[in-house]
Each structure stands twice: as C-alpha cells, then as structure tokens.
Amino acid sequence: MGFPHKSHPKETVVLSQHFGDADARTLKGWTKRGGYEALAQALKMDPVAVTDVVKESGLRGRGGAGFPTGLKWSFMPKEKKRPHYLCVNADESEPGTFKDREIMRWTPHALLEGTAIAAHAIRAEVAYIYIRGEFTEPWTIMERALAEANAAGVFGTIKVYLHRGAGAYICGEETALMNSIEGKRGNPRIKPPFPAAAGLFGMPTTINNVETLAAVPHILTRGAAWYKGLCLSNPKSTGTKLFSVCGHVQRPGNYEVTLGFPLKDLLYDMCGGPPAGRTLKACIPGGSSVPILTREETEACLLDYEGVVASGSMLGSGGVIVFDDSADMVYQIMRLARFYAHESCAQCTQCREGTAWTTKIMERILAGQGKTKDLDLLLDLSENMTGKTICVLSDSCAAPIVSGIKKFRGEFEAYLAGKRQPVMVS
C-alpha cells in the first residue's frame, strides 16, 4: 500500500497489506488476519527445514547489502556449543529510508513473528530488536505488541528483547549495533570474525533487517515457490520490496512492488511524478549511500539488486530520493557529505578526516570560494575514502560525490566560475 495513500493497482501488497489498519497492531487483530500461523508451523519444523524454505524462496537482505537470507542463517554453527543470538536491525537511519518504521508502526506482530521464526531457524534462545532512538512511536507500538505476545506466550522458549538506540547512524552497521547492545561505543568491528562465528557477546549471531524478517512469515505460509515467483526481471531478485519515495514527487510514501519493477513507473505512475511544471532531474534509488542516477538512468532502471547495479547505482535499502529540475545538486550533495561527516564514528582515519574535509570543500564551493582544483581534489579524496576502511560509511560519503561530479559537473563548475549565486556563507 502506498501509505499514506491508497494502494496503487501496480503495487504487490504483501508486507504493506495492513498499513493504516490500527486493528492489525493488536495481537487479537493480527491473529484474526492469519498472524502467528507461520510461527506455529515453523516451530513444528526442524530449524534446518525452515532455513531451507527461506533459501529456496530467494529472499535477500532488505537492509542494503542484499545478502541471501537463508544462506546467512546457514552460516550459524551446525553443532550448537554456545548460545546463539539473533539481532534485528531496526535502526533504520539511512537518509531517504522509512520502510521499517511503517512495518513497526502498523504490523509490529509481523516483525515479532518473523523474528521468532528466524530465532528458531538459527537456534537462538535470545533475540534483540535494536530500534532507532528517534523512533518514538514505533517503539511504543513494538513495546505494546511484545508485551501482548509475551503474555500470550507465542514465542515459547525464545526470549525477545527490544533495545533502543541512542541516535547514532553508525549503529545501523551490524557490528556497531552489536557493540551498542553490549553497552559499548557503537563502533564497527573489523571482520573477520564474522557475526556467525563471533557476534553479539562473542557468540554466534545472525543479524537481519526488519523488512527481511517481516517477509519470512509470508514465505512459510504461502511457500517458497510463491515467493520465488514474485519476480519481474532477474531471477536472483525475488519477492516484494518496500520503496520509500521522498523528495520532488507528488505522492511520496512507501510503495511495495515486486522486484524488477521499473523505477520510472514507480515515480511517474504511483508517485505522480514531479510537481506540476517540473521535470525529473536525478534520483538516488537506494538510500543516501548509493550513487546518484541521472534522469535517463532513472527512467531506464529496473528495481532489483542487479537492475540498479546495471544502471550504475545500488538497490540499497530502497530509499528513493527524487530531485526535480529545481534542485541544486551541489547543495544536496553537500548535505549528504555533512551528514556522513557528522555520523562518522571516528575510528578509521580516512573516514574521520575525509568526510569532514569533503564537507568543507563542498561548503566552500557553495559559498563561491571554490578553487578550480577542488573537483579533482574531491575525486581524489573520495578515491582514498573508498574500500579502505572498516565499514562503508566513508564509501557512502564518497559515492554521491563521485557520481555527482561525474553527472552534474556543470552545476559544480557554475559555482566555481562564479556563474551561480553563492548559497552559503563561507
């Protein structure tokens, strides 16, 4: 459902079926809608069999990396010698992304059910749901839903805890999230060891995104073949995905489509295209961390993991940020760089210093103080910030810079040449 709008006929409504329906938030309402059937079914199955169904469905991580979920679960030790943990990443902080928030707001039990199924599949006795600190409403709703589910004893022996973040973007990085749960500073860890070997509290851990887990009950009840059949383009990308569309469109919101759906149709048909009198200029298709697409690239882009890569970006978390011809791309990119400079955890040198330096150069350009060499300098710094750090935050800062300069060089040069009125004070 294109919440807060009505469902568009082109949507494939699975996860978002009950968005806007407050009754679905309650345990009673959720059970009435078929909730917790999948969990009951899963608990009767061998954990390996549950994992196999998910593997077969082709479900891939919806947090951004797109790693096959069933495969990830199968990395957990076959022989259980130590406690296993499940972490649920509900620290949705990627600028432009607001799908997990809606899942938690409207269908908290979908997440809880998926969480319990995953915990069963990886034989975890404890699951932590790490919820972004700013998500006050989802937090309250999740708390209430968890209390209801616990009172009804739907999780059996599995213990589910909610853990509230304190406002750091980096805590959405899986190992930083684990450090944060452990009470430490939310710094990403060096890998290896990977979480399946040594994760939360040093124990084998699996971490999944909210949207990924919310899809799991549907896969169990309707079958892997059904989910696999939800595919419009590349067979490696199956199922539905929520896209959070924001920016210069007439009807922003969350839209659920089958993977492989054309981005053009999403933006023009469902979201109503740019405001009247405006034309599309650019689009960031997967949350702020991915390269920017031009109008041509956007209109040719198919929304699945492979399709967006073929267009020169990444599917990421599905946060679609749309710019029309009124947008100042230099300013928009500066805002992104400033975000990453603010959120860098300060561990890696390139990220700590590079994000801040990049921001200063961008601000200088916008203040009309840019130097001719600044674009080369930005590209060179971006090169030094890409692929060299513990996590990908510094890469994420570099991606819009590199793609922005490549695709909207004229706008940068207009500032450098003094042809555009400075919009910032140096």
Partner: protein, 482 residues
Amino acid sequence: MADGLINLTIDGAPVSVPPGTLVIEAAKQAGVLVPHYCYHPGLPVAGVCRMCLVEIEKAPKLQIACATTVTEGMVVKTQAPAAKDARQGVLEFLLINHPLDCPICDQAGECELQDFVFQEGQARTRYAEFAKRFNPVEDFGPDVLYVPNRCILCTRCVRFMEDVAQEPVLNVSERGDRAFIGIHPEARLDHPWAGNVVDLCPVGSLLSKDFLHKARAWELDKTASICTGCSQGCNITLDTRDEVVVRVRPRPNLEVNRYFICDHGRMHYKWMNRGDRIEAPLVRAGAELKATDWDEALDRVTAILRGTEGRTAVALVSPGASSEALALAKRVFTGFTWTGAFQVVMGEDAPLAGVPDLALRAERAPNAKGAENLGYTRDYAPALAAAKTAAVVLVLDDPDCAVDTNGALIYLGTVLGENAACRRADVILPIANVAEEEGTFTNRDGRTQRYYQAKPAPGMAQPAAWVLGQLAAAMGPAEAQR
C-alpha cells in the same frame, strides 16, 4: 621449510611463520616494516588507523596487515602502487589537522608520524585555507599531559588502559573529526602503570611531565639496563643527555615485562644523577678521613685483612649491588668465618592486571635473589649484631647502614651522609652506581640479566666489582692466604 609453518612471500622475500601470525609480524621477519600507528604487539588489534594497508594477491581490495593472518602461498606486496597511494592518503588525512609543531614537540626525532611522512608522505598539503582543529592541552594525571591537537586517535592509550591496565578511564569522546581522547570526569590517569601510555603514543600527544622539554630525542644516548625499582627485573633503556640520566623507558622483553614498566620504575632514576658523591678513596688518619689514591687505599684494606687477629668477617650489602660485586665481596674473605646479609626495603605490590606475572613487586630490590644465591642471608639483624664483635666488617653500597663494630670497617659506597655510621670506617672506597657500571642482577624468578654502563662514574669512583676484584687479587689465591 619447517613443518607446521605457513610459507608466504613478502615483497618477494619468502618467509615461514607459525599459523596465526599476522601479516605485519611476518613482514618483520622478511625485514619489512609495514608503516602503522594503531597496531602494537602488546595491545589488542584495533585496525583503525588504516596505515598498514598492503596489497595481497587474489584479495579483492587492500588489506590491513595488522588484522590479516597469513595463509599458505600468500603473496604480500607492501610497495604496490595502490598500497603506497592508500598509505599516502592516510598520512595526508592525519596531517590536515596536525599542528606540525615538531620544533617544540618532545616526540620529534622519535615520532612515527614524522618517520612515515618522511618515508612515504607528500611534501605539500592540499588542506590549504581551512582552519585546523584546536583543543587545549589537558592534564590527564600525575605524569601525563594530553595534547589533543597532535592526536591521531590510534587508541593505543585507550586500549592499554582498558585491556592491559584494566582501569578503563580513557575513551574516544565525540565522533567524526570532533573526536578526541577523553578521560572519565572523575578519574585521573594515576594507575601505577599509566606512564606506559606515553611510550605507546606514536606521536607527541601524550607527554611525560617529568621529561617535558628536557631533551631532544636525537641528543639522547640509549643504554640497555635493568630497572632497580623492584625484584621484577624489567628491562629498560636509560636515556642520557650529557652524561645525565633524563629518562627511563621500557625495553621489550616478552618473558619479563613485555613492553611495559611501572611508574615507580620509570621515576626511579633521579638518584643516579646525585651530585654529592664520594669521588676519591678515603683512609683514616686519626680522627680525620684523608683523600688518597687507589693504590694507598687498596694497600690499606689489604693490610687490614691480612693483619686482623680474629678471622671473623661480616659483609652488610645492598641487594642492589651487582652479582659480580657480591661474589667478589665474598671471595675477599676467603679463610674468614664469614657472614653476609642484606635487607630489603618493602613497599606495596602493584600488578599489571592484563599481563600475567608482571607487577611492581613489594620487594624493592633488583638483586635480592642474586644475593641469596651467593650465600647472603636475609637475617639482617643477627648479622648486624655479629658485626659488633667481628674482626672486619665490609659495608657494600648501603649508605644508611647502622653498622657498629669494634673491628675494622671498610665501606664501599657512592655517598656518605653527614651522620652516616660508615663515617667511622677505616677505609672508604668510592664506587659507581648502576648507571655507571656493567653487571648482572638475578630477578625474583631466577633470571640473570645484564645491564650496561650509561654514563661515567664521578671522580675516581670505580665499579664495586673492580674494587673488590683488586682486593681479591691482592689477597692472592685462596690456598696462599692462611
């Protein structure tokens, strides 16, 4: 190639190392120092400075040598263009906010930022026209200052306090380029081993107040020595400038002190520079002591040893004397009924929690074990009582010895206090202190370790082992003495 070892190639050189070895350590075997800041063999791996990026064949991207373990057939290229570019990038990032105040920085000359920038960095900055980050100097503890402007946030100090000292009072505060090393608002960096953070700091960000502006690194002579602060036997380096000891630093010894020394040991050097030393041999002339040369002084001692009626001798020695001196102080009395004793000053134990068997020991003497091995006893009071009636008493390097004897008294020492009991000695022989001689100590675990001469002894002072050796030689072989 030996069994059970992993074979790999580093910059073309084949090396074989045990499984589990980190690439950065394997590189050392190949004679390659991979530039690094956050990595330290005595601390948990952090992998944050990203300086040790190297190219490894078949790896999709550059890897950090400090967190990558070796695999069979691995081919490491530290000088690959991509690796050099990446390290140059890190150096540039590290320098943009660095004050470049090397001329007034204590670390200059032994600074890893200087070293690696000189080796691999670029000559010019591209950070022109932006203000550098500024934070004021902070007083962290009794001997530690924090200069945040020079900090490269390698977190060695944080990890030392957290994992090695296990008193986590330091952290990284703030985020992004606002980050700095923070200290708990109610804590001081006063752990008994806190001074190690100064050594661990690869730049001039954590400074010793004691050493502040005392010397430039390149003016220092460095001498291997053994700490005399307690019976642990930590390996140290004595740094001297113009023949004055100005600093004590740990010298790595994985079996004894790893990479660390305690603050007590670190500060236990000022007495080595005392100016009020005995500089010439003194012999008794009635009520007076007369300065003389070594020949006369040694002759006088020989005459005393040969001429005594009784054949009882007591040696009251310092457990800080070298084993060589202690052995000779015994041999000199061959043929005597001999008692040797020492007393040990006791203090508080101060263990370093993260390192087994490493502590500032309650027994504040470096060679008590050596003295014991040579037959000296800890029963000091009876020996002191026996001295009263002994024919000859020898006091070795114990200026505060409360000796009282009716026999002859020979004192070998570095200083002679105004009211020292040894003022009534028949002969006083000036000796070198630990910084002025070579010798060995045996630590509490029975490990005998050598220390070397760091500066000349004042005046005519000689190592105690030399003095006692002269006397032993003068007394002739054992069988001839009676």
